[in-house]
């Protein structure tokens, strides 16, 4: 019997050291947009970093990251709902996500090297069949399965025990 249905979240951190074309596009687009949109808050004052901006202008969080995230909507669409850089045990890059969250970690209008953002991809529900060593044995469409290694940036963000789900119809029926 499966253990649970779960949702996964995978957080990709992108900074100047990021190497893939996708990451580099994200880096440049968000840095340019940060440099533009932060002006709505700083308005010429001597605040340059995201830390200073959100401390000085509390309204900038979450408004500024939200506005910066506009710049990557097209790039996110280009992923066709596959989480980049997350591979199953066979090396396939086809773990689907249904939503994403953009985060502005740090930035500085004077120095792009300080710029760092995160994108957290959240999956739909998977069936967690087993945990084999450090790998999750998952199903999207049983009986087909795939294995995914637990790794930095990957987390289970919802967990519903299988027993509870199988009891739900009975509970509903008894109402």
């Amino acid at each position: 019997m499966p253990k649970a249905t779960i949702r996964l979240a995978y957080r990709q951190i992108i900074d100047l050291r990021s190497v893939t074309p996708f990451e580099q596009k994200i880096f440049h687009a968000t840095y340019a947009e940060f440099s533009i949109q932060q002006q709505s808050f700083s308005k010429g004052r001597e605040v340059y970093t995201w830390e200073d901006i959100r401390t000085t202008f509390p309204k900038s969080d979450p408004a500024l990251p939200f506005k910066v995230s506009f710049a990557i909507a097209g790039l996110i669409s280009s992923l066709q709902n596959k989480i980049p850089e997350l591979h199953d045990a066979l090396g396939n890059n086809n773990i689907p996500f249904i939503q994403h969250r953009f985060g502005l970690i740090a930035s500085d209008t004077r120095d792009p090297a300080q710029h760092a953002v995160s994108i957290t991809y959240i999956t739909d529900e998977f069936i967690l069949n087993e945990i084999i060593g450090n790998q999750l044995l998952l199903s999207e469409q049983p009986p087909q399965t795939f294995q995914l290694k637990m790794q930095p940036g990957l987390s289970i963000v919802s967990y519903l025990p299988w027993e509870q789900q199988s009891r739900q119809p009975l509970a509903m029926a008894s109402l």
Partner: protein, 249 residues
């Protein structure tokens, strides 16, 4: 999820908005400075003449230079139609960006960001209270858009007539960036009588009429006559609005 206080946000926004000189139509001193007037062009059509001046229309064009990255490929936000399925009376908005420091020469390549609330008074991005209760619109982008001005200095948006929320009169937010530098933050106003007309229609009437008008709105009260859209149309076919935005370069 954390609830963001729109009241607090708006308060800050207003502080921000009013801390920047409102330069819209700064170039129209020699032109019209009239408040809105309404004339009937048919039994149902209305035309409201705002404050745009035509005195600069023959001025030479100026370019704002290349945009730093290719936002034009990002149809998610770089778009003419910002409706995203939101219902309301159609509104076509054409803004002309001109240099108020140079005889109102049109500015091409300026980046214009606009945003406004939906027919019920809710903004995308925020989780906020309203007359229909709290709506969580975080991560949504409806009724927001960016365009670059064309060789005539124009940007065009298709959207809906905004609704209203407690404490503010109907408005559209506008930011103009030239060479990636924020040059103007302002808001555009609608004639009070037109707001009343629109908010009587079936799509909007559930919210009733707004007690805040342009003259007692804390953003527009001392300046709305220079921020009024020129607008015509009717509640059935929608409205067409224009405005000349003066930016000092």
């Amino acid at each position: 999820m954390e609830q963001h206080s729109r009241a607090k946000f708006l308060k800050n926004l207003l502080i921000g908005a009013t801390s920047v000189p409102i330069l819209v139509e700064a170039c129209s001193k020699s032109g019209s400075s009239s408040s809105s007037s309404s004339t009937s062009t048919s039994s149902s059509d209305s035309t409201y003449t705002g404050t745009s001046s035509t005195s600069c229309s023959a001025s030479p064009s100026e370019t704002a230079g290349p945009y730093p990255y290719d936002l034009s490929s990002n149809s998610a936000i770089f778009r003419t139609d910002i409706t995203e399925g939101k219902t309301g009376i159609p509104l076509t908005l054409t803004l002309t960006i001109v240099n108020s420091n140079n005889s109102c020469a049109v500015i091409s390549g300026a980046r214009v960001d606009i945003w406004h609330c939906d027919k019920d008074g809710y903004y995308s991005e925020y989780s906020e209270p309203g007359y229909l209760g709290t709506q969580d619109n975080t991560g949504k982008t409806f009724l927001r858009g960016i365009q670059l001005s064309d060789t005539n200095g124009q940007v065009k948006f298709t959207t809906i007539y905004p609704g209203w929320y407690t404490g503010r009169v109907t408005h559209i937010h506008v930011e103009v960036f030239v060479n990636s530098v924020l040059k103007l933050t302002t808001q555009l106003a609608f004639p009070d009588s037109l707001n009343t007309t629109v908010y009587k229609t079936s799509l909007y009437s559930a919210h009733g009429q707004n007690s805040t008008t342009n003259s007692n709105d804390n953003v527009f009260s001392d300046s709305y006559t220079s921020e009024l859209l020129t607008i015509s149309g009717n509640t059935t076919d929608g409205y067409t609005a224009t405005f000349k935005v003066g930016v000092p370069l």
